[in-house]
C-alpha cells in the first residue's frame, strides 16, 4: 500500500529552484534512502513533506489523504515524524522533557502515559544518562541522537531522518544502523537522507538520487550506485 505520494512537487526560493517537478511514492514498510550533492534540495524535500515549507506546485498525499495544505502540526499527528539536519532541541527543557513534548503532543496522550515509553527510547538511543540535563548542554552528537529520540517518541508511521550518521565513529555508526533497523522492523516506514553511504545502503531497499532539485534516479541501491550518471555527479565528488 502506498503511504506517501508526491506528485509534481515544485518549490523555488526566488530564482533558485530547489524542488523541480518531484514525483515518487513510498510504500508502507519501505526504507528509502535519499542521496545527492550538497544543496541538491534534500532537506528542502523533507521540509515540503512535513509542511515546514509550503510547495509552490504539485500535491502530497499521505495515507491516501491530500496533505499539501495541511499544517506541520497536523502532519505530525497523522504520523509523519522527522529529525532536523541542524538539531533543534528545546534548549531550556531537559532531554527527558524534550521527549515528553514529542510523546504527549505527537501522540495526543497524557504526559504520564508516555513517560516510560520516552524513558525506553532514551535507553535505546543512548541518552538515558543525560535524561535530566538541559538539552542546551548537549554536544552536537548527543543533539543528533536527541533528534532521533524525539522523532521516535511521536510514534511515527513515516520517519524522516536527515543526516544523523555524520561524525560518528565506525562503532557508533554500527549501533545507529542497528537502532534504525530495529525501528524499521517494527513496521515504521523510513526515508533517510545520508552521505555515509555504507550505513545507508545497509538499511534501505531503494535509493533516490536528487540533483538540483530533480529526481535523477530511483531504484535498487546497487543499480543506483552503478549508474554512470550518479557516479559522475555524486560519487565522483566523494572519492
Amino acid at each position: 500500500m502506498t503511504l506517501l505520494q508526491l506528485d509534481g512537487i515544485s518549490k523555488s526560493f526566488g530564482a533558485l529552484t530547489v524542488a523541480d517537478d518531484i514525483t515518487f511514492s513510498v510504500s508502507e514498510g519501505e526504507a528509502l534512502g535519499i542521496i545527492g550533492p550538497n544543496g541538491a534540495g534534500k532537506s528542502t524535500l523533507f521540509n515540503l513533506i512535513t509542511g515546514t515549507i509550503g510547495a509552490d506546485k504539485g500535491s502530497i498525499r499521505f495515507l491516501g489523504e491530500d496533505v499539501t495544505r495541511v499544517s506541520p502540526m497536523q502532519r505530525c499527528l497523522s504520523g509523519i515524524g522527522r529529525t532536523f539536519q541542524i538539531p533543534q532541541p528545546f534548549e531550556k527543557l531537559t532531554v527527558f522533557e524534550n521527549l515528553l513534548v514529542a510523546g504527549a503532543f505527537g501522540q495526543q496522550r497524557g504526559e504520564r502515559e508516555v513517560a516510560s515509553e520516552c524513558a525506553e527510547i532514551l535507553v535505546e538511543t543512548g541518552l538515558i544518562a543525560e535524561a535530566n540535563k538541559p538539552a542546551g548542554s548537549l554536544s552536537l552528537l548527543q543533539r543528533k541522537r536527541l533528534e532521533l529520540a524525539r522523532a521516535l517518541a511521536t510514534k511515527p508511521k513515516l520517519l524522516l531522518l536527515d543526516e544523523i550518521a555524520g561524525g560518528l565513529t565506525e562503532g557508533e555508526c554500527a549501533v545507529l544502523v542497528e537502532t534504525i533497523r530495529a525501528v524499521h522492523r517494527r513496521g515504521v516506514t523510513v526515508i533517510w537522507i545520508e552521505h555515509v553511504l555504507h550505513a545507508l545502503n545497509s538499511v534501505v531497499d531503494h535509493l533516490l538520487v536528487l540533483h538540483f532539485g530533480r529526481v535523477l534516479g530511483l531504484g535498487a541501491p546497487q543499480d543506483m550506485m552503478n549508474s554512470q550518471e550518479v557516479r559522475e555527479i555524486y560519487l565522483g565528488m566523494e572519492v
Binding site: M73, P89, T94, F96, F105, G106, E111, S116
Partner: protein, 365 residues
C-alpha cells in the same frame, strides 16, 4: 535479561518546594490580617506590591513562555479600569462586581487586538501592541460620560455602597475610605495568590510543557504536534483577562481615573517589564523577587525624580547583560533551589540516580 522490573516515573516536587508551600500559606494568612494590624499607608504599599506582582506574573507568562513580547499591556489595564468605571457610573453596578466583570471586557478587547498583533512577528508584535494601546487610549479619551481626556472620579456613594464596606464600618469602626481600601487589599491578595497558583498549575500541565517548547523552538514544536498558535492565543486571552481585572482593581483603589494614567506605558508595562527582567523571566519565582527589588528601589530612590527612571533602566540593562536569567536565575543555578518546580525529572524505581542504575544502551554500544 534484567531480573528486576524497571519502573520509570516522573517527579516534579522538591523538598524545598514542599516547605515553601507551607510557609507561603502561612504568609498569606498573616497578610490577610494586615488591615487590622498595620497603618493604612502600609496597606496601600502592600496593595501596590500585590497588584504589580499580578501584572508581572502576566507579562512573564506572555513574554517568558508564549514568546509574546507585548509592550501594550496598558491597553488591558486601562480598558479594564474604564469598563469598571463605566459599569459603576453609567449602570450602577457594584464596584466589586464591576471589577470582576472588567476582566471579560479586557478579554473582549484582546480579540481584535490579537487579530491584528498576531500577524506581526517578534519586535513588530511589541510595537503593534503599543500602537493598539495608544489607539484605545485615544478612543477612551473621547468618552465624554467618563470625563473625556481629563478623566473622572468614582462616585463617593458607590464606594460607600460597595459590598462589605457597611459591614466593616459597623463591625470594626472603620472609615469609608479605610474600609474600601481594606476590601481592595483583600481582593488583591486573593487575586495575587490565585494568579500564582493558576499559572503554576498551567505550567505543570501538558499545556505548560507545550508552551515551554514553543518558547524554546517554535518550528520544532510544530513539527512534534504542538499547536503553537492555539497556545499563544490562549495565553494572550488569559493574561488580558487577569490584567483587565487588575487594572480595574488598581483604579477602584485610586478612585480616580484619566486616560493618560490608565493607559500609561511606563506604569503598566515598563515597570512590569523591569520587575520580570530583574527577577528572572520564565519562572514563577522571578517576578516575586523582582517585585521586592522594585519596591525597595522605588521607596529609596523615588525622591530623585527622573534620575530614578534612568537608574531603573541602567539596572535593567545591566541585568540583561550580566544575568540574563535574573536574580532568581542566579540564585537558583547556585543552589538548585526551586520554590515552584516545574521540571519533570525522570526517576528509576523511585531513585534520582538513573545514570548509575541503568545499563548504557544505544550508540555507546
Amino acid at each position: 535479561m534484567s531480573s528486576t522490573a524497571q519502573t520509570w516515573t516522573t517527579k516534579t516536587g522538591t523538598r524545598a518546594s514542599g516547605l515553601f508551600g507551607v510557609a507561603a500559606i502561612l504568609v498569606v494568612i498573616v497578610a490577610a490580617g494586615a488591615p487590622f494590624l498595620v497603618s493604612r499607608d502600609i496597606v496601600q504599599d502592600l496593595f501596590f506590591i500585590l497588584t504589580m506582582l499580578v501584572l508581572a506574573q502576566n507579562w512573564n507568562l506572555l513574554a517568558g513562555y508564549a514568546g509574546l513580547l507585548s509592550i501594550g499591556q496598558q491597553a488591558f489595564v486601562g480598558f479594564g479600569a474604564y469598563s469598571m468605571f463605566g459599569m459603576v457610573i453609567l449602570l450602577g453596578v457594584d464596584p466589586l462586581l464591576a471589577t470582576l466583570l472588567a476582566g471579560f471586557f479586557a478579554m473582549l478587547l484582546a480579540i481584535p487586538a490579537g487579530f491584528f498583533s498576531f500577524r506581526l512577528q517578534g519586535a513588530y508584535f511589541g510595537v503593534g501592541t503599543w500602537v493598539i494601546a495608544e489607539a484605545v487610549r485615544l478612543v477612551v479619551a473621547q468618552w465624554k460620560a467618563l470625563g473625556g481626556g481629563t478623566g473622572t472620579s468614582l462616585p463617593g456613594e458607590a464606594r460607600k455602597a460597595m459590598f462589605g464596606v457597611e459591614f466593616l464600618k459597623d463591625t470594626f469602626d472603620m472609615k469609608t475610605s479605610q474600609a474600601s481600601d481594606a476590601i481592595a487589599y483583600w481582593f488583591a491578595l486573593v487575586l495575587a495568590a490565585a494568579t500564582v497558583l493558576l499559572f503554576y498549575r498551567i505550567l505543570r500541565t501538558r499545556q505548560g510543557l507545550g508552551l515551554a517548547a514553543v518558547r524554546d523552538n517554535e518550528t520544532a514544536a510544530r513539527a512534534l504536534g504542538v499547536n503553537a498558535q492555539r497556545m499563544k492565543v490562549f495565553v494572550y486571552l488569559t493574561t488580558a483577562f487577569v490584567t483587565g481585572i487588575t487594572g480595574a482593581l488598581i483604579y477602584l483603589q485610586k478612585a480616580r481615573i484619566s486616560p493618560d494614567a490608565a493607559f500609561s506605558v511606563t506604569d503598566w508595562t515598563a515597570y512590569v517589564l523591569f520587575i520580570v527582567v530583574i527577577g528572572g523571566i520564565g519562572t514563577i519565582e522571578g517576578p516575586i523577587v523582582g517585585m521586592i527589588v522594585f519596591f525597595v528601589l522605588q521607596k529609596t530612590l523615588s525622591d530623585f525624580g527622573s534620575v530614578y527612571l534612568l537608574i531603573l533602566g541602567f539596572i535593567g540593562i545591566a541585568t540583561m547583560i550580566f544575568a540574563p536569567a535574573g536574580l532568581w536565575g542566579l540564585f537558583s543555578a547556585r543552589t538548585g533551589i526551586q520554590l515552584f518546580p516545574i521540571r519533570r525529572r525522570l526517576v528509576l524505581n523511585g531513585s534520582d540516580h538513573i545514570a548509575q542504575n541503568t545499563r548504557e544502551g544505544g550508540f555507546n554500544g
